[in-house]
Amino acid sequence: MAESNGTLRVELVSPERVLFSGDATQVITRTLEGGEVAFLPGHAAFLGALTENHTRIYLADGRIQNVAVHLGFVEVGADHVTILSDAAELEEDIDAAAVRAAKIRLEEQLRTEHSTEVEAELRRTHARISATGGLSTGH
């Protein structure tokens, strides 16, 4: 680390294992009721519940780690961000083509019947699509 308090220690933890861990300069995620939040080093202690979202981790080496987080919690201190989620997927683990096909199928399904199950799956699908580069740019 270049400076002692210039970065955030980011950990993304699922029940099965630590999915991701690294140093970052900024983390953007979305809470259950409040919308998007960004955390920079030195942020006040924060505890939040997350909705299905596309979380961006701006790594210290300039890369961006995209993650689809499907519900979970974030715990933030001055020098660390910990994301707890029982279902999170890293960008590289998502099959972009399959997800786009799923989106069309789910939207079709919602037109004919109303189901909270399907709606939740669609929200997860949107998070995945966003994490893999959005609809426009074909990966």
């Binding site: 950990e11 933890v13 699922s14 029940p15 099965e16 294992r17 630590v18 809470t31 259950l32 009721e33 409040g34 939040v37 006040a44 202690a45 924060f46 505890l47 939040g48 519940a49 519900l71 919690f73 715990e75 201190g77 910990t82 707890l84 029982d86």
Partner: protein, 297 residues
């Protein structure tokens, strides 16, 4: 006559040898699975530690005094036991340990005037308690040697609903804790309502004392968090039980293999003696016959 006995013994040795091959293979499989199961236990620790910490921080901030999962009930009328056994036998005293511990608790409860409900995890627990006429609310099976988080979620949700609907006033987890490959112990841990010591700091790290900002409100976070916490606890127990099951099975199969070896040794000894006896008898007969012919001449 003597040759017949030898043939029978040879057949028995062959069958013991075949059994030994099987137990030996099972021993090796279990041994390799212990390592993997142990790694999964370790890999699950960060999540459960962190989620415990968050629950603690939230309670420190004053959330959840009204949360049903936190508040205990004054009078406990029915206790739910979640029993983690194996799907298969051939693992020594593994199943007997948890089953006996649970049965003892249920009997103690009955004496104290409390009712019981069993949630059986693994086929062995289900058949044991069903046969003895205990009250089984639900059983889950088919995954005990390799549990997934999805299963823990299902069990967690079921148990939580049992508690929230008022059918039970307390939920206890009974499982075999994996300490090392050489030592495991049957433990009973309260699952719901959540222990006071967990929420108040207790033995482990005390609450960090940060003044947290919350979004949404602490109560709302806690509401979504507590079910996850219960699931994480169930998941950790499932992983411990799986690792213990493999350890028990490895030990059981090792002693079965040793036993088979001993048996083969004894049987071979008896067989060799029988063969020697029959040879001796045969020689005696030949010699006797020759003598008789000689003396006849």
């Amino acid at each position: 006559m003597a040759g017949g006995q030898e043939r029978i013994l040879r057949g028995r040795i062959r069958s013991v040898q075949a059994t030994k091959k099987i137990t030996r293979a099972m021993e090796l499989i279990a041994a390799s699975r212990i390592v993997k199961a142990q790694q999964r236990v370790v890999a699950a620790v960060p999540y459960s530690d962190l989620i415990t910490e968050v629950v603690r921080d939230l309670s420190a901030a004053g959330a959840g005094s009204s949360a049903p999962l936190l508040a205990g009930r004054g009078e406990v009328k029915n206790v739910c036991y979640v029993v983690l056994s194996a799907d298969r036998g051939l693992c020594g005293g593994y199943n007997a340990g948890v089953l006996r511990a649970t049965e003892g608790e249920i009997k103690a409860d009955a004496l104290a005037g409390r009712g019981h409900v069993v949630v059986a995890i693994g086929r062995k627990a289900e058949s044991y308690f069903r046969f003895r006429g205990y009250n089984i609310a639900e059983s889950f099976a088919g995954f005990t040697d390799n549990p997934t988080y999805a299963v823990a979620k299902e069990i967690g949700e079921y148990v939580t609903s049992l508690y929230e609907s008022g059918q039970v006033d307390r939920v206890e987890l009974v499982y075999t804790r994996f300490i090392t490959a050489g030592s495991q112990e049957v433990v009973q841990r309260p699952l719901v309502p959540l222990e006071q010591e967990v929420t108040e700091g207790g033995d482990a790290k005390a609450a960090t004392g940060h003044d947290y900002e919350f979004e949404p409100s602490p109560d709302t976070i806690l509401e979504t968090l507590l079910p996850r916490y219960v699931e994480a606890r169930v998941y950790a127990a499932l992983l411990n039980a799986a690792a213990s099951e493999h350890a028990f099975r490895q030990r059981a199969m090792k002693s079965a293999t040793d036993n088979a070896e001993e048996l083969i040794k004894n049987l071979s000894r008896i067989m060799n003696r029988a063969r020697q006896d029959s040879i001796t008898t045969e020689i005696m007969e030949i010699v006797g016959g020759a003598e008789a012919m000689n003396s006849g001449n």
